[in-house]
Symmetry: C2
Subunit: 773 residues, 2 copies
């Protein structure tokens, strides 16, 4: 845990250069616009600890799988997020000295990510070995308005000297992924061009053949006036630049504006990519830095209007929740149904792949409640588009007749993951994908989605479950053997309660969805049946058989669901009995010991109770929570949020707050000692869940919002915004009261503390805080 | 399955060059003497399919582990058998043409491994592109008398031309392991020297720092007379040679004698290695090819006298069993307690490591019954020497107080294997190591071994079991969670019957061994207790607790032991229902499907019934055999032998023979399509087991041999030799009778068909064949 970043409600601030933490700061101060993004690297040369990272959404490389012992069914490759051309680079040379914060003295250093307005700013005085002092102020952003462009304002002021300063803005395409399995390069150069103050380079990924063309244009101002400059074009292998030498006087500010655009063959014909890049760049340059910056601020203000959460009385908490919302918005905008939410977003390259079950299980509620309906819908359509691959994936494992197993990790629908106990066994992910469809329909009321897309996915997943279970003669019930539940500290278990439950639930919901589809559009339903050879009578009968006869391990004694068969054969002990020095367990215990212990990595039975809360009475939830929570070590960043929501639901306010704290500042404080690899993007949505579903008690029931909000004891107030079926509401809670603001032009009725409450259009209603049990 | 090798009782013969199978032939025709060995490669240059392989026992390299996802407790490296300097090389050049069987026409090719006399012979006529015809006859062996030396007689005869022929005998130290994880080279050159007709090169392994010095000397004869020749010494990087050009007349035979020695720092001070090598080489040269060859034949004749098996009426079977005995003898002689039986011996490099549980479970009985007592004893002492490492290995996994977990794969006692479900879970190996001690004491009567070494190992293994089980509150019994049994088609199961049984058996035997040790040498026993902090009262009480309260999964209904908990939840089906095209399953089914199926890779419950036959009545063995045999697919080469022994025991003669056939010619017929990687050395001992323990019904009971022999229906006779407590017996069985020859100078009493039978010194007794039930 590190606490060198300043607490501030809207900004992340590093005061003084923390060289040793630079890669952490780079992760935290990443910029992105859903289409491209980059780590908070320096523009000028830096020879110290740094992970230079630029990423272009949807562009990946199938890196040859690395495995100890091959198992049949493993994928040939792991799709890696590609570190792409670096377009921020501006080298500064002063009479044979290079500006490099690793080799000179650094004064008054300040790096700041402004989340309100969406930019990164840095200022410092560098004292070179020669004694020359240079003031630098840099600001840059990835535009969320022109989302294939970024802009930099980089100013230098000699403080104690006059000199010719050589400035080399460049694009470096010779980039390597730090996590390459065999240390290979993934990019080939296609072409490059340079011109006066501009340069272009088009790179192509090996194997996948994605083209990305990156262009830059440079303008320079001195004394507030545009200056002409001599520009020397430079071309090396996979590298283009412009070099210019300027007379700089003591105290005189020279400002370099660098505009860059990044166009990929995902969106343009690769034959015209260079031309399109030139054109796009021209428009951006014409717009200019100031206008772009203005638009950026406006666009971010619009976003915050829709989904800000305010916390009064706790700046660290305020900063934490905003940081999470900010990063979620930077990572995924929902504009493009081919994209998804990578585990590191644009903040690093570790883990590879862009899509995990994290999307459906943790990120989905955030986008559903804070963005336009089409955003959540696009996340569903993304999986719909991958259905064919999911069916192929299941076929590889021996399933048939249209059964689909969605991949554990993917870029293009194909499985990338290669650890048998997860790849082949952590199949509960299939259920989360079905659940997201349910969640969407419940939240939006858009049943037509089932007819158009959802049902086809549900049937394919249900077919998988129907084939994956088998009849146990011994038990005279259906069983599901050889799975790994969400708790990855157990592998290859039988009858994982959560997996069995979500399988049966999927079957049930598929039957419901069939009825809805028949009711809404029987013709389309019939066409679907024909197309996918759905034999309704037979498949429904099978589903009913399984629904009615599934085995769920249960402890009659304690009246709790058993995480899996045989769980009670373990030596049961709470996490609290494990000495602190032995945690995190995955760094201190052998895998053997972890597997055999009762200690749970992340919510498993409780994940099920969270998803299907309505299907259990409060006492059941409480008994299971009290049984499992003490044994859960939360070594997945996705775990505490679920516990937080359930704890809040059960009135366990201290526990809820403790769990909330575990995720709220995970990356800001480098809680897990791994933020240098990038931020934990998907778990950021979990913090939102903890606040809105936990403290806010937000649920949807019978086409209405239901809320049971409270404000944690050490906060003065909490306010969050929710979009629901065309309305925008703000729920504000203090220690004594609640108010609900309806920003929309129609009245909205919600259930507040189990009582109906109607808030008229564009008005606010107050209520007393109900003290929850 | 391939059948291009000729059936012959004593030789393996390839008639005509089978280019496409060359790597298979190379494996099969490997030579070895327990100290060094090599594949059946060609002496002259060969650019076709070939795996050049030379191996020096005990010399290994810790190759950096390759793994998909790291788990705590994995070893940093995988100890690889090292492919070492090639000393057989003799390049032949005739006026700018090289002799290379890949590029010229080959006539009258014959390659033959003579198992009776222990040499490899090859003859052919090569027709070069120029039309020149050259007759070549080559013979070589790795001496089992001078076991750091080999010798080659390589003769060339121009058939239709006179020419100057250039001959380049060489040593090539620039060797790479084909199975290197990261394609690295493992050898560095230390020094090299050349002289008249001789050359030396000393190489050192990276990381492990083993030195191996290889020397060669060359003599040449023409017309049966030694000739002087001009020798041009050649030194390249990691390569030394002598080049000589000779006038060769049409029809004139030129014979090259190449002597080579291979000395390693395992046996010599590395500072004097070159000097020692020179000296050793000089002795060998002085002895000369003919004498060496004569001694080789004598030594092999002595070996065969002790352990030959003759089968009349089936040449393929005769060849198969001799091939297996021959390879076992080539691989391990038992002279050196630091060596062990690698899975590929000296025939290939795949799998790495030198020691698996194969040694104790499958190879041990062979050496026990056919070699001097010290050989089996050395195999035990090998593990005793590794006890410290086994304790460290257990510590890494979290065990304590002297608990030992022997490695799954090792070279030096440290674990090399890195697949969690095996490395950490296939712990039954610990039991097999304990069982070998028991087996040795039972067979030899050498109880003193327990006092000197055995008990210390037994206590350490028992400590492991005591810590590895845990008390299940739910079952009110001890359980063993998260193991992999011998059947590796199941992973991470609970209460594997075999593992639980061998654990409890180890505890029981340890208690027995304590009593024996106390009786034989109470003082030494007390010293041991002090040294290893053995608290007899407490540890014995714990062991008794576990012995009395262990859980063994059992099916009351069928009255069979359950392979593991929950086995009956699977869909049970026999292997016979799986279409042939889907086998081997591990190449056709996904790992997911394999894990969930009931199909068993190799004997598991039956392995236990084999080991502990005396503890179960025949009906129990029969019920379990009938339940499990149909579900066993035998995709480990170590499986059928166990089934063969049990089937023979149960009078299931057809099944026993079917199982025997599965291993008998595994490599000769390339049954599993992988002999090109090397031979399945350890499973060869399994064939011996099938014959001697299966058809021969050999057991040891109450300090006597017990035999229930029969001759399989399609053989005329079967005869095998057995050493037992100073006696050598030959048991011969025909379809009608049995005779037992006692070669020793004292009478021996055995139990034949449950009746005592005494055979006087140096005499033979006949008996009727009892027809077994």
């Amino acid at each position: 845990m590190k606490q060198y970043l300043k607490h501030d409600p809207w900004c992340i601030v590093e005061e003084g250069f923390h060289r040793e933490y630079n890669e952490i700061t780079e992760s935290v101060m990443s910029l992105g616009n859903g289409r491209m993004g980059q780590r908070g690297n320096f523009e000028e040369k830096f020879t110290g600890k740094s992970l230079q990272g630029n990423y272009v959404a949807g562009v990946y490389y199938p890196d040859k799988t690395r495995v100890g012992w091959w198992k049949n069914g493993y994928p040939e490759y792991f799709a890696k997020v590609l570190n792409a051309a670096n377009w921020i680079g501006i080298d500064i040379d002063i009479e044979y000295e290079s500006l490099d914060l690793n080799t000179c003295e650094v004064r008054s250093f300040r790096r700041m990510l402004n989340m309100k307005e969406g930019y990164l700013e840095r200022s410092f005085v560098a004292v070179l070995k020669s004694g020359k002092e240079l003031q630098v102020n840099a600001r840059r952003f990835c535009s969320i308005v022109d989302d294939e462009a970024g802009a930099i304002r980089y100013s230098i002021t000699p403080l104690n000297f006059d000199a010719k300063i050589t400035i080399t803005p460049y694009i470096d395409g010779d980039i390597r992924n730090r996590d390459a399995n065999y240390d290979e390069k993934f990019w080939d150069e296609v072409r490059k061009e340079t011109g006066y103050g501009e340069a272009f380079i088009e790179m192509r990924t090996r194997k996948t053949g994605f083209h990305v063309c990156t262009g830059m244009a440079v303008e320079i101002e001195q004394d507030g006036k545009r200056v002409d400059f001599q520009s020397q074009p430079i071309k090396y292998e996979k590298y283009v630049a412009n070099r210019m030498t300027l007379d700089c006087q003591r105290g005189q500010e020279t400002v370099i504006f660098k505009y860059a655009v990044n166009l990929s063959s995902l969106n343009y014909d690769p034959d015209h990519l260079m031309r399109e890049t030139r054109q796009y760049l021209k428009q951006v340059v014409r717009k200019g830095f100031e206008k772009m910056e203005f638009e950026q601020k406006q666009a971010w203000a619009d976003k915050w209007k829709m989904n800000d959460i305010t916390i009064e009385g706790d700046i660290a908490a305020q900063q934490g929740i905003r940081f999470n919302i900010f990063q979620m918005n930077q990572t995924y905008t929902g504009e493009d149904e081919r994209l998804n939410i990578g585990p590191k977003g644009f903040t690093g390259e570790k883990y590879g792949g862009s899509t995990y079950w994290d999307t459906e299980a943790y990120c989905f509620p955030f986008y559903l409640a804070t963005a336009d309906q089409k955003v959540a819908r696009n996340l569903l359509v993304y999986r719909y588009r991958h259905l064919g691959k999911a069916i192929e994936n299941a076929q590889k494992l021996g399933f048939r007749a249209g059964a689909a197993l969605y991949p554990m990790v993917t870029m293009n629908g194909e499985e990338s993951h290669n650890e048998w106990e997860i790849t082949f066994e952590e199949i509960h992910r299939n259920g989360a994908i079905a659940h997201a469809i349910y969640d969407y329909v419940r939240y939006t009321g858009d049943e037509q989605y089932l007819v158009d897309y959802g049902l086809e996915v549900l049937i394919a997943i249900s077919r998988f479950w129907s084939q994956r279970v088998n009849w146990s003669e011994a038990k005279q019930q259906y069983v599901m053997l050889g799975v790994t539940g969400p708790n990855e500290y157990e592998n290859n278990v039988n009858n994982n309660w959560y997996t069995n439950y979500i399988a049966v639930w999927t079957l049930r919901y598929t039957l419901e969805a069939i009825e809805i589809a028949k009711r809404l559009d029987a013709e389309k339903f019939n066409a679907l049946c024909d197309r996918i050879h759905f034999r309704e009578d037979k498949e429904v009968a099978t589903a009913r058989q399984i629904i009615d006869n599934m085995h769920f391990p249960y402890d009659e004694n304690r009246q709790v669901f058993l995480q899996q068969e045989g769980f009670l054969d373990k030596e049961l002990m709470p996490v609290s009995e494990i000495p602190k020095g032995q945690r995190p367990l995955n760094q201190n215990w052998s895998w053997d010991r972890i597997l055999r212990s009762c200690i749970i990595k992340q919510a498993d039975v409780l994940q099920g109770l969270y998803f299907f809360e309505d299907e259990f009475d409060e006492e059941t939830i409480r008994r299971n929570f009290e049984f499992y929570e003490p044994m859960t070590v939360h070594e997945s960043s996705l775990s505490p949020c679920v516990h937080a929501v359930l704890a809040a639901r059960l009135g366990l306010k201290e526990k809820a707050y403790e769990m909330y704290l575990r995720t709220a500042r995970l990356d800001l404080d480098d809680y897990n000692n791994d933020t240098e690899d990038g931020c934990h993007i998907t778990s950021m949505a979990g913090t939102w869940m903890a606040v809105v579903q936990g403290f806010g008690g937000l649920r949807v029931e019978n086409d209405q919002l239901r809320l049971n909000p409270y404000c944690p004891d050490n906060w003065d107030s909490l306010a969050f915004k929710i979009r629901f079926r065309g309305a925008l509401l703000q729920i504000s809670v203090t220690q004594s009261g609640v108010s609900v603001q309806n920003f929309s032009s129609h009245p909205v009725t919600i259930t507040l503390y189990d009582e109906p409450l109607t808030i008229e259009a564009e008005s606010r209603k107050k209520a007393d805080r109900k003290v929850l049990a």
